[in-house]
Amino acid sequence: MAKRTCIFFISLFMVAETVAFSQDTVTVPLHVRAGFDLSGPVMKLVSNDLISYGILGSADINSSIAATAGIRYSSFKSSEVLYDFRSRGLSFTAGVDYNFIKANVSQGKYYAGIGLRYGLSFYSEEAPMLRYTNVWGAGETSVPLEQHTGHFLEITPGVRTQLLPGVTVGWNLYMRLLISAGAGKDLKPVWMPGYGPGTSGMSTAAEYYISISIPYRKVKVYIKPKVRDSEEEETEGENTGTGNTTGTSGFSNRL
């Protein structure tokens, strides 16, 4: 009798555990976010040569992909021995971010992923003074103010986390690929607003931003069950003793 009761309870525990972890969908809130870049104002305290203020927004399309857009105003001046250079303008970016963190872990709060964006920069540049020297002698000339439009691509690995409910902070690293500076081969900008050094085909930058995050919809996301071979299951069963593993659901306590 005692043996039968024991088997009954063990079976009951097994059924109970299967029910508790058999859930293979999770409800995730989708957010819209609007924020601004903190690094621009901080860098202005260090140097007045580069002023860069950016705002950015994003909207989750699903639990992994978000549509993102940004506007940035940049002003750059450089006074070197050989030349003075100034540029300023507005740049616009638009693209998508992909979150590598699974929906059941990120829960709309965490992001570690990569983005791809297309950027457009409307800017003006001038070189009020430039000096040249060769065997004929030295001289000075200037490049008058000209308006240009540049294009670039951005690859942006980054992370974001929820600081407070509704407030997120994050880093983005920017790897920018220049499509065209729009200024011809002779007058590539020393600094193209929104991109960086216009003489280089690739530029890097970083941004630290804070944003307000508002949930606008909830979606159910199917979580693919983790497939484990029986050997691994046995080993884990031995280690944990109680068999407190994910079973078919894939919800591991380690996550």
Binding site: M43, S78, E80, L82, Y83, Y110, A112, A127, L130, R131, Y132, N134, V135, W136, G137, G139, T141, V143, P157, G158, V159, T161, W171, L173, K185, D186, L187, K188, V190, W191, P197, T199, T204, A205, A206, Y208
Partner: protein, 155 residues
Amino acid sequence: MKRLSLILSTAAVTALAMILHSCSVQPCYEDTDPAMNTLLLVSGTGETAKADSLRVYTYRETDTLKFISLRGASTFSVPLDPANDESVFLITLNGVTDTAAIRYNRRPHLVSPECGYTIVSEITGLKTTHNIIDTLIIENKSVNLDGQTNLHLFY
């Protein structure tokens, strides 16, 4: 969360390194002097010629600028005057002197942020005397930093 903290701190260190790198002053290693390159050719055959002696210079109000003084040269390179739209060269080939006047348009060209700007030119025309020079023709009108041959000098 530990993973996120690790990623966050890695990103911060990388960003700081990039910012510090971008703040450092870089030296200029590039060529900043565009030169007009001329190839010497044998008149009639078009074969490359080797001058026994070659001198290229110009007279200015106050002095004489000597550009080239070579023996056994088959090419020479001279800079154009970046302050004027015309440069006049006296070319002495094997002891015989000709005068060549080169006309051009000038425009600034950014070499790099470290090196600054230089003046590149587009040759629009030329004139020469014919004491030893048979023909002087424009092969490539862009006088820039590419190092391509701009003129063919037949003598």
